[in-house]
Symmetry: C2
């Protein structure tokens, strides 16, 4: 039976981290909200019409009777089934911890354009967004991306992955983060490859995986846009520190 | 062998969600950073001197050779061992999803006093903090707390827990969130018990568990303070909407 992914149509958003894993594995899945009547099916779960274990928000995944919400929870569930995480308890716990750090980083990326309220437009918090983005680029990108670079460099398998000796869902997510940062902040990321060479090499490795390349060229891959997490507002971008 | 919890001394912070689980279960644990030389031991992990699988930040837990970072990851690991999550794959996945929603909420609580930059003092972003807190109290508290109230009310076991028919780590975390909100925003939370009766009843149930009561009266329980997640700045508090 096909996996059912539930996520908003029209943006990559948090759903993209799941799509990349499913696509890399060549898994059979339905992107439900992008099918006819799919939005109502999605809200049936959120509103508790499909049982008491309602998700707080998309994305969530349905696999038969199992429902999993939150990106990191979904990837923790799918990883072993899709062959996208190494064997062994400690490896899976570490991979999950890395994915949770990515989740925190993604929330901080979102807040660069919405530092005051998600209920208001970006245009209503533009000055605060400039201040938050400045601090984000100065402090948070180096802290998070530097960490991921150290993790890849310290991996004893030595193959340039975040964990173990082959591609994992963490690598796919780091690709998405690197691509998103480059889309949102092209000026500020001008030295990204020099500053974070191991992340950059991993990004390039993911980009050339046959299944990922096919996906990126398909109409299943939505373009980055200003409804997503990574938004390009030129007034927020700035020269590298 | 005792569990080793690594978290900053001097604040409840994110470590408190782990402490509550260990205390409720009567588990043998060491709060390492609060022992002599403990801070250096903690940084040895973060700086990669204890192996390549370095945590991004505290809290993390060491259990023999296993190292687990991030609150939700730690509780997902400890839950079955401490008897603080129901049996069964779907129950554990749902509990983990709830805990991840709590993690997102906790990050939003933090950002009420630090909406622009964690590298700057609260006093340097006080006006933005007022705006963010206003939106938080108006939109985000009802969204998150209302969700948790619905989940408890919809639990088919009917015993007032978030999941299953007995206390879980999710219940302990919801207690901490309810207590923290009441500490930080006493005016805004004046109608909390009326608005979220199931969360309030669960909070009271947790508070009277014998092991939790002993813990709360011990010097192991640090008081809420303005170094933690939940901070009481009277100028941010406001009348209920």
């Amino acid at each position: 039976m096909a996996y059912e992914l539930y996520y908003w149509d029209g943006l990559q958003g948090r759903g993209e981290f799941i799509r990349l894993a499913l696509e890399q594995a060549g898994a059979d899945y339905v992107d439900v909200a992008r099918t006819d009547g799919g939005m109502d099916k999605m809200f049936a779960f959120i509103e508790g019409r499909q049982g008491n274990q309602m998700p707080f928000a998309p994305p969530f995944l349905k696999d038969g009777e199992i429902i999993v919400s939150h990106v990191a929870n979904i990837l923790h569930y799918l990883g072993p089934k899709l062959g996208l995480v190494p064997e062994g308890e400690q490896a899976r716990i570490f991979a999950h911890g890395l994915q949770l750090t990515i989740a925190d980083f993604v929330m901080e990326v979102h807040d660069t354009h919405h530092p005051i309220s998600t209920a208001d437009y970006y245009e209503d918090q533009k000055e605060e967004a400039k201040a938050r983005t400045k601090a984000f680029l100065q402090h948070r990108v180096p802290k998070f991306t530097g960490y991921f670079n150290r993790v890849i460099a310290a991996n004893p398998a030595g193959g340039g992955h975040a964990i173990g000796d082959r591609l994992s869902y963490v690598d796919l997510s780091l690709f998405q983060v690197a691509e998103g940062l480059a889309y949102a902040f092209p000026r500020a990321m001008a030295r990204f490859d020099a500053d974070y060479p191991d992340v950059a090499k991993l990004r390039d490795k993911v980009r050339t995986q046959p299944n990922i390349r096919s996906y990126l060229e398909s109409d299943r891959r939505l373009a980055f846009n200003e409804s997503g997490i990574f938004r390009h507002y030129p007034e927020l971008d700035q020269d590298p520190a």
